[in-house]
Symmetry: C2
Subunit: 358 residues, 2 copies
């Protein structure tokens, strides 16, 4: 059984391969070969009582019989709610030894049951989010070389641009994020990686105006994409269900979502307040009828739902919640490449299996 | 991070310690300190199409802030449905290398999030099932030295007798299972371990008649415990929701169950038939009103529900579904003892944590 770290994983996977693997596996899922288990969060209070800290044991899983693997993704997080610049923020604390986070993917064979690999989720997490948005862009954005505007300059923004440039040749990219230093540093860092100059701009409108594709890649829990930013032919790509204003969603011609699961299943000790975005009733979009009945990305890829129908359609993909199924797909890419490259530490499989009938 | 195997775990834990740890933690859970996440099974077809084989990725988790740990228990099983002696049986296939099964417990710190240990679930699985039934027996069985009848001679039966003899001094034990050789071998093997002679008998009635405690520890998916076997003062202990006939349940004076979760949450690829016992509507007991409204073991232990009230009450505990929470409790016992004993293989924690914000 292989143990891999994020550096090793970064060195052996690439965005186009992840997108191709996701495209094939999502088609299989739409055709009934492949299944996803809804995310669950188990929450208790932790730390000093007045700190408001939460321990969250989060998991999701999925199996792709086409690929012969299943994956369980587990996050074991310490979460605090400090007040930063007058706003209550949700902050994951790297409380493990060495100021580290704990997020793991366990990959299993669906043919023998055996564990194939364990690795941290940091790199694959970004790949699978961005690959899903990239796939949606492939099917929904206009075919010509698009102009791209991106809101956000965090780690999700970087992988979103990698996915964008994997599915389309891009004419130009403009980037806004509130902090000028951040957006400049992001533009300088990402431009050489994707082979397109990213131009930092000083407002959301400046990033979006004239764009053919608007990438929303923020950690905002309040909608910021406004209805009057919509134009014919625009494709909006969002990484969560809180970025797009409900009025904008109602005006869009075509919405595609990632999963019908909505919010995670919460198991909570008494006194615990779940994060607003994770509440079953949380997220402005849930009241929008167009969102509730929107088709799924997997069905779009499988051809059960039409792709873009005209140059004038305004389209929107919302990556509303992740799927454990994605970790099975990207996990299989990682595993195959690692075996080929001889990467990682190979531990005896019998350490993680047993003679005892469980 | 510790990697332990079943032999190492067997050597460092014992039933009385597990029962004591469960008693304390269940009380905490009843008082709002501790939470359990409902079991989920992700199912796809596997193997040749005509084989009817299923791959099952099953998980459950729970957190005890009192103990400072959370645990995720994962089973990665190949399941087949062969016809054995004219009956369709559910059989887990040891398909991992070396003809082994894959069942794992991951133990995390709820104070730092870090992974503390990974170990197979085989030994702790038996301990936690039996410890729950043992605790129920402590609160519900008559106080005097009981006569015990047990139905079943499998691995659950052995740990049930260990738990029984941990909570009560036992006068005598009679055992029935359908295969004469099996029940004789079981009696010979278990008697020295528990310090009580187990007498194999040739019928269920012979095992149960005159008993003060009837232990049902079978893999039967059909009810076999009959209503006319009930007597005043009897305590029935069952390890699943299908062993006791609904008519018997309706006649019992007091029922306590393990969890209100009922059946697991199923995520299934198209064409997969879940095992009958795991279906939301499966199991005869679900139609019995007394079962649906029965109090919980944790509340019995916490004193929110009265224990046995008279010598004449006929009581029944049904361990209707397992809890991930149990693996946190027993996992903590295992971890503390292993650290103390220097048992297992200590892998670098940084292999299983990361700098990357997940």
């Amino acid at each position: 059984m292989l143990v891999l770290n994020n550096d090793e994983i970064s060195a052996i996977i690439d965005m186009p391969t992840c997108i191709a693997a996701m495209e094939t596996a999502y088609r299989g899922m739409s055709e009934g070969r492949g299944v996803n288990r809804r995310r669950s969060d188990t929450l208790v209070e932790t730390g000093p009582a007045e700190s408001g800290g939460i321990y969250s044991l989060k998991s999701m899983d999925g199996v792709s019989p086409d690929l012969g693997v299943g994956a369980m993704r587990i996050n074991s997080d310490i979460i605090t709610y400090p007040e930063i610049s007058g706003q209550r923020r949700r902050v994951k604390v790297p409380a493990a030894p060495g100021e580290r986070y704990t997020g793991l993917v366990l990959l299993f064979s669906s043919e023998t049951g055996e564990p194939l690999a364990i690795f941290p989720d940091g790199v694959v997490q970004r790949m699978r989010v961005a690959a899903a948005n990239g796939l949606a862009t492939r099917y929904l954005a206009r075919a010509e070389t698009p102009r791209v505007g991106i809101i956000g300059s965090g780690w999700q923004a970087g992988s979103q641009l990698m996915a964008m440039t994997s599915v389309r040749k891009v004419e130009r990219i403009r980037c806004f994020s509130p902090n000028e230093a951040n957006r400049k540093a992001f533009a300088a860092q990402i431009s050489p990686l994707i082979g397109v100059d990213v131009e930092p701009v000083s407002s959301m409108e400046a990033a979006i105006e004239d764009a053919d594709v608007a990438l929303c890649a923020t950690s905002s829990i309040e909608p910021f994409f406004q209805a009057d930013w919509l134009r014919p032919g625009l494709h909006i790509s969002s990484i969560k269900r809180s970025e797009i204003h409900p009025d904008a969603l109602r005006k869009v011609d075509r919405i595609v979502i990632h999963s019908r699961d909505g919010a995670p299943i919460l198991a909570m000790a008494s006194g615990v307040e779940p994060p607003a975005a994770d509440r079953p009733d949380g997220g402005a979009l849930l009241d929008v009828a167009e969102f509730k009945s929107a088709p799924l990305l997997a069905d779009l890829i499988a051809g059960k739902v039409p792709a873009r129908q005209s140059e004038k359609e305004a389209t929107c993909f919302i990556n509303n919640i992740g799927m454990g199924f994605q970790f099975a797909i990207i996990g299989k890419v990682v595993y195959d490449r690692a075996v080929q490259a001889g990467a990682g530490r190979d531990l005896p499989t019998e350490w993680f299996t047993q003679n005892e009938h469980p």
